[in-house]
Symmetry: C2
Subunit: 137 residues, 2 copies
């Protein structure tokens, strides 16, 4: 496995419009993508900053992973996403090394990407997302 990039940093927010407005007002940055990702139970916006994105996540319902995160911890840093070239190879290598995988097979993420999460108990209390970007995007 090779990590190619910090693809994005995911931040859970209660109000996506308000957070986007604040990012623009305070930091002068804007979203490049915004979409609803039903498979993740979120509406998300991707703000490019240099070679990575700040991803803002608003849950579609309280009974979703991001909804439960907000209820228990409030707004804040949610996960760290690395770009990989082959997500199946990455998941296989992580499993061999004893990583606790949230997803043993990839799911659909935003931007047409294939994604999978690694449980925070694996390393540094950090929910890690692997992202295999679509070549069409």
């Amino acid at each position: 496995m090779r990590l190619y990039n910090v693809d994005h940093v995911g931040i859970a927010v209660f109000d996506l419009d308000a957070a986007l407005s604040d990012y623009e007002r305070l930091y002068g940055v804007f979203p490049l993508y915004r979409e609803t990702v039903e498979a993740q139970g979120v509406e998300e916006a991707m703000i490019p900053v240099g070679g990575s994105f700040v991803q803002l996540l608003q849950p579609l319902s309280a009974d979703s992973p991001v909804g439960r995160f907000l209820a228990s911890r409030g707004e804040g840093l949610h996960h760290l996403a690395f770009a990989v070239d082959d997500i199946e190879v990455a998941l296989s290598e992580l499993a061999e090394q004893g990583a606790r995988l949230v997803d043993t097979v990839p799911r659909s993420g935003g931007r047409g990407a294939r994604i999978a999460f690694v449980h925070p108990s694996t390393l540094g209390g950090t929910l890690v997302e692997l992202v295999e970007l679509s070549h069409d995007h």
Copy 2:
């Protein structure tokens, strides 16, 4: 102000050696810098991933910001750092916009950088660090 990059994502850990070993074993990545930053009360390691760094932080004492974070929340994502060209201008603009600044004047960070933190209550529950990198580094 212009945000040039996601300079790094800071992660608080109890044991820096163990975390570095796990990052190498699981993800095949290594630190480029490792140093003690007395002004921040941490020993830190910077792992390059693409154009950004994963920063691992081990507190020098329990009575430090990162030490208190670990005591209350455990290991995990601690802050998000953006590179700026002029940190005084950035702080001035943020103050004008009503941001709550942890540091109204820059402090010394790792890699010879000048840094300042913006309080998480400002936006998205996220502790934001501004980094003006040293031209000599």
